[in-house]
């Protein structure tokens, strides 16, 4: 119980409260601005977190994470452009409501549903995570290796269109992580006599370059195209009236809130999924269960509420595998995991026994971030709509300067700034070539864990590889990892073959005889 009181003291300290507030505010603004993503927001603000003692920085990142998911709905409703992929489903009914003059009602419902989904998933995290951590406490080196491989295998799910390129990206991340001192023997690897490389390539500049600098370069490209289009960038024209949902609206959407929150939380716990999947499934289910399915696509209040509750519920769900097993579910949680590691918190089952105060701080911090998101959403929506009007010509230089300053601030060296820029330029070209950035980060983060546990396991068994099939936990995770790796490749081909076979059978007159 004293751990809980200590955690309450941390979270409700003035500095932590201010940082959570600032993080949530920054998150909402980043989410509301089309072109700025959740990952970019966390990557941009992550260097700042190292300047704070204790958990302040982590609480700030939790605020950014929750705020940015919600912020995406603002631009989705007002300008028909989802601020984040998770808000793509919100456009379907949010924008028609805005066109009908109900922008305030839509924004109010999306704010309430985002807060509900976020709080619901925080409760689920508090209930489920400690139980799962208890089960996972007895894991040994081969099991941790299998967990690492399982974490790496989700690369196939977070890759954009090409699984092979996603895996190549993962290998790039794994290779970057090998540069520096060997984790077991402390021998030099790929350092070429450079003092900078001896400590390994700093993770933060790479992260900022891949997620923020490359996006800023994309922003410059999009600006060029927009300037030559007849209408240019979209502007907010809708008038915002009443924001708080009426009692009648709330009663009607409450079952949708509950259903979508359960869906979002459950999907969040599955590594490799994310807010976009949760929001679309929540939307489809809301339509299926609705008494007014004909309203969907024309401004249904359930159609706005379902995707937002589902997407925001993913936050708490995704923290379950992250905190208990040390497996990031997507790019955003992979970046968060990096922040935890830099703060000296090694995620996994031992976190719950070795750092109970920090665990409780994260739990309470998640509740607080979601509450702040709701309060800020209801009170500051008019300000956020003004922020959306900031032209790209001002926004991009700000991002680029923040990238440089953030990278510099981690180790106070300009080398990190150059590393960030080179990573960003590579990231930009890789994005053009259909690569995703998340696999690289997942590789960098999980590579050392997988390698050290693989070598530790083989040292334990004197080089006998059968150690990985003797433990049921290890064998299970390796099997799941293999399935995760190969299903996205083999699955569509099996489906196509099955469809073809079904088509041939249907076309065969003798089939039915």
């Amino acid at each position: 119980m004293s751990d809980l009181y200590q955690a309450l003291g941390v979270v409700f300290g003035y500095e932590a409260l201010l940082l959570t507030f600032l993080g949530t505010l920054a998150g909402i603004i980043i989410g509301a601005l089309p072109g700025l993503t959740v990952n970019m927001g966390i990557a941009l603000l992550m260097p700042l977190t190292f300047t704070f003692q204790g958990m302040g920085g982590i609480l700030m990142l939790l605020g950014v994470y929750c705020g940015a998911i919600y912020g995406g709905s603002i631009s989705a409703i007002l300008i028909n452009t989802p601020g984040t992929p998770a808000s793509a489903a919100t456009v379907l009914d949010g924008y028609p409501m805005a066109l009908k003059g109900e922008a305030g009602r839509a924004l109010g419902l999306s704010t309430a549903s985002s807060m509900f989904g976020g709080l619901f998933s925080a409760v689920a995290l508090v209930v489920v995570a400690p139980q799962l951590a208890k089960v996972a406490t007895g894991l040994s080196a081969p099991d941790y290796f299998a967990l690492g491989v399982f974490g790496i295998s989700i690369i196939t799910s977070v890759s954009s269109s090409s699984v092979i390129k996603g895996l190549i990206g993962g290998c790039i991340g794994l290779f970057i992580a090998t540069i520096g001192l060997d984790p077991m023997t402390a021998g030099m690897r790929f350092t070429f006599g450079s003092y900078y490389l001896m400590g390994g390539i700093s993770f933060v500049p790479i992260l900022v370059g891949l997620f923020a600098f490359s996006q800023a370069l994309l922003g410059i490209e999009e600006n060029w195209i927009e300037r030559r289009q007849p209408g240019g960038a979209r502007k907010v024209t809708a008038r915002i009236s009443r924001l708080l949902p009426s009692w009648a609206d709330f009663r009607r959407v409450l079952p949708t809130y509950l259903r979508s929150s359960v869906i979002g939380t459950a999907i969040g716990t599955i590594p490799g999924t994310g807010g976009d999947i949760a929001s679309f499934i929540s939307y489809t289910e809301a339509k299926r269960w609705s008494k007014h399915p004909e309203e969907f696509g024309h401004g249904s209040i359930e159609g706005v509420s379902a995707p937002e509750a589902g997407a925001n519920a993913v936050a708490g769900g995704a923290m379950v595998p992250l905190m208990t097993l040390g497996i990031p579910g997507d790019g955003a949680t992979a970046i968060m995991m990096g922040a935890f590691m830099v703060q000296g918190l090694s995620l996994g089952p031992l976190l719950f026994t070795e750092h109970p105060v920090e665990v409780n701080t994260i739990f309470i911090g998640l509740f607080l971030a979601n509450l702040m998101m709701g309060i800020l959403g209801f009170s500051g929506i008019r300000i956020f709509t003004r922020v959306m009007a900031v032209p790209r010509q001002i926004l991009v230089p700000i991002i680029l300067v923040l990238c440089a300053v953030g990278s510099y601030s981690v180790n106070n060296t300009m080398t990190d700034v150059f590393v960030m820029m080179i990573a960003g330029i590579f990231g930009y070209i890789m994005l053009k070539l259909d690569f995703s950035m998340s696999p690289i980060i997942i590789g960098i983060i999980l590579g050392p864990m997988a390698e050290s546990n693989l070598r530790r396991a083989l040292t334990m068994s004197d080089g006998d590889f059968s150690i990985f099939v003797r433990s049921p936990v290890c064998a299970t995770f390796l099997t799941i990892a293999l399935l995760t790796l190969f299903l996205p490749i083999v699955g569509p081909r099996i489906k196509a073959w099955w469809r073809l076979r079904g088509g041939n059978t249907a076309g065969d007159p003798s089939a039915g005889v």
């Binding site: 300047t51 390129k165 290998c171 021998g187 060029w224 680029l400 070209i429 053009k432 070598r455 080089g463």
Partner: protein, 153 residues
Amino acid sequence: MRHYNIMVAGLSILMGGAIFWLSRDLTGFSETGVPGEAFWPSMIAGLFILLGLLQLAEVVFFPSVNAGRTVDLHSAPVRTSYVAALVALVFATIMTWLGFIIGAVLFIPAIMLLMGERRPLLIVGATVAIVAVIWFVFVNFFNITLPVAVFFE
């Protein structure tokens, strides 16, 4: 897309080969069969080569997978981004010698001009505001030292 995918495959195989070559002096396995420093990098190198070959096979045997997809690395908007990246590298170099303030005061207007902004008042106003806010927040609020000009060190 086809020739870019072949290039990606080639680079992946080349990367694998390079890692194998760079690991040649590291220990693979000890006498007792315990893996050494080269073990994990060699696995990654093998994966790079395997994935490169798979990418090549996809291009040759399953051309329909990438049919209709295009890669834009040379159009005017992309070239603008390259110029911006170059300007950013120059900014980093200036920042190394002349510090953050002088670097940012030159960099922000350069990017704004590159993005088509021509209103001098907005350019000057935005530059001063961005530099002032970032300096104030980072130095006073976060206690972060920003690079200063070598003459002031």
